[in-house]
Symmetry: C2
Subunit: 210 residues, 2 copies
């Protein structure tokens, strides 16, 4: 299809598509003349993937490039591509100024993750994020240790077990990595949206009048 049809079917402007082509997010079409190229269903699919990462996930163009490069690198396992998506999601929030308490908190989180029995890399960004939460809450005067995360860890483990059991195992690599990447990004947004709605519901009962 021509770029105009790709634009119509994807709902993205021609200018946006050209920008993605220049940034290497979208592979070049097949040249049919000096100033015309042909695009296929794969391009449409990739464009929709980029749109989810951008609009639902809130990723930057730079982060999306890292994710699509990982998807396109056939030597990377599905597990590694998921790791790339997680790194991209973590990049959305600026790393806080490291306080002296951070190192100690990171060691506590490492212990905590070990207690949970989770097999996660030493540089998984989630560890640093949990440590930052711990440090910030303590600075607000909360007397807490990593056990404060127990309820969340239990819920997260249930959700993740269910999610991974649901992703395809028999499809080709591209279909699997796409489903895994889209799943982690889209359902993160869904989970936090649902938590806020549920909080509103429970808060209405408790705090409506004060």
């Amino acid at each position: 299809m021509r770029i105009s049809e790709l634009s119509r079917r994807s709902g993205r402007s021609i200018a946006t598509i050209k920008y993605y082509l220049r940034e290497g997010l979208l592979p070049a079409g097949c040249r049919t003349s000096a100033n015309q190229a042909d695009y296929g269903e794969d391009h449409l699919r990739r464009l929709r993937l980029i749109t989810i990462l951008l609009e639902v996930g809130g990723l930057t163009i730079t982060s999306i490039k890292i994710v699509v490069d990982a998807i396109d690198d056939e030597s990377r396992t599905v597990h590694e591509v998921l790791g790339a998506a997680h790194h991209a999601l973590a990049l959305r929030v600026a790393t806080p100024v490291a306080l002296p308490e951070h190192d100690e908190a990171e060691a506590e989180i490492d212990d905590y993750v070990r207690t949970l029995g989770w097999n996660v890399k030493a540089d998984a960004p989630g560890r640093r994020e949990l440590a930052a939460v711990l440090v910030s809450l303590r600075r607000m005067g909360w007397r807490i240790d990593a056990g404060v995360f127990d309820e969340y860890a239990r819920a997260a483990d249930q959700i993740a077990a269910w999610e991974l059991a649901r992703t395809p195992d028999d499809a080709d690599r591209t279909a699997i990595v796409e489903a895994v990447v889209v799943g982690t990004v889209a359902f993160e947004t869904a989970l936090v949206a649902l938590r806020r709605l549920a909080e509103e519901h429970h808060s209405a009962a408790r705090y409506q009048h004060r």
Copy 2:
């Protein structure tokens, strides 16, 4: 205390503190001379709250202003302040370009929320976010309805019930609203970090070698 001590105890630079004062995030100190003011423990506390919203929550200065204004407005109930925090969190991701499918998806989400029996406002941003997830996944070819959120909704409901039961009910208004705002922001970050770690754990078992 002087601004220099406030800076030392909070770990934020004097320039940053002055910026927050100008933006109205931090109330003015008590003038002790033409170019000197005195700050109290409340200022330190507010500064730590701003830091959590900024560094852990990833909120913008504009959004933080909305939240602190709600906190400071004694006529707003705790429930309303929580709503302000939820709106601020939702603002982090740009509203996607509205597609024709969005209206239909929003109606489906409204039905779904009704089915869950949750008492949430018609303009709760979570509804729009869930509809956007539904639309984006369908455009990727996923044949799904709102039931795809069931596992997440169950987990979110358990978490929120536990969270709200845990927030103080007997403290003064300021202490309650602070705890509720800090809780919703900090534990959202913790929950998504834990979900990613749990996904990595379950993915390691399933996809390590492919």
